[in-house]
Symmetry: C2
Subunit: 151 residues, 2 copies
């Protein structure tokens, strides 16, 4: 279904910015970590800026900055900033109103889909960018330990 990696990219970008602690990071540098194109990163940053999650500083030495503290950015905000919120699509054409199922299926589906969507969003809403970066640090420390013990 969803083939967009924008959410994954966005979390990646925001994690980078949260480790910068106020020092602007250029789209060129970000693209180097994500392994993609600077222009694509700038487009993504535009969406994040529209959502109030980042700001940008023009000119030499400029780049992107977090607009909020990492523990005030939920992953739900990130998701909504960069991904269309529609998890499942309804019928494109109207179902046949002469049929009992056709008359009511969309109302019933709306309830089902909304509930599933809300469950998913509640999960994302319960985590912040700070949680994600904490996980990153934990993974890095684990790797360090492994490297030391294996010589």
């Amino acid at each position: 279904m969803n083939t967009s990696s924008r959410f994954a990219f966005a979390v990646h970008v925001l994690a980078l910015l949260s480790l910068q602690e106020g020092v602007p990071l250029s789209s060129e540098m970000i693209a180097g970590s994500v392994n993609t194109n600077p222009a694509l990163i700038r487009r993504l940053l535009s969406m994040l800026a529209d959502a109030g999650l980042t700001t940008s500083q023009l000119g030499a030495g400029g780049g992107a900055l977090l607009a909020k503290a990492p523990d005030e950015i939920t992953l739900l905000q990130v998701y909504r900033a960069v991904d269309d919120a529609q998890l499942f699509a309804m019928h494109r054409e109207e179902p046949n109103p002469a049929c009992m199922v056709g008359r009511h299926i969309q109302v019933v589906l709306r309830g089902i889909i909304d509930e599933a969507q809300q469950a998913m969003e509640a999960s994302l809403g319960a985590r912040t960018l700070a949680d994600a970066t904490a996980d990153l640090m934990r993974a890095e420390r684990a790797l360090e330990r492994k490297r030391r013990s294996h010589g």
Copy 2:
């Protein structure tokens, strides 16, 4: 993100079949209610049959049938039968392993995405086709009442 209406179509089709109570329904008739093409319905039915939710009867008077009782078909089974289970995509290209975030972001994202996906699936898993058809009947009765009172 997801632009596929296959889940919506599938619930629609299964609701029709559950009201048939054992009488086969042709793809032609189903397509008439969904308002689409019979061949597309047959493609959808192939997926549902692969998942063990429907069977088909060839020949004159044939058509599709439910393979299970409606209260034994969860909407999660339907979703998995017709939709690719991947809610969010990861990075297509590997992130830069020379960067701390690049090294670990995918593991962290995996945890986030899996949890969100499981929350969504739990919601779908808690409802059966029988629940959906009960909702349909309820909506129809409400419409009947409205019609009677408004003349």
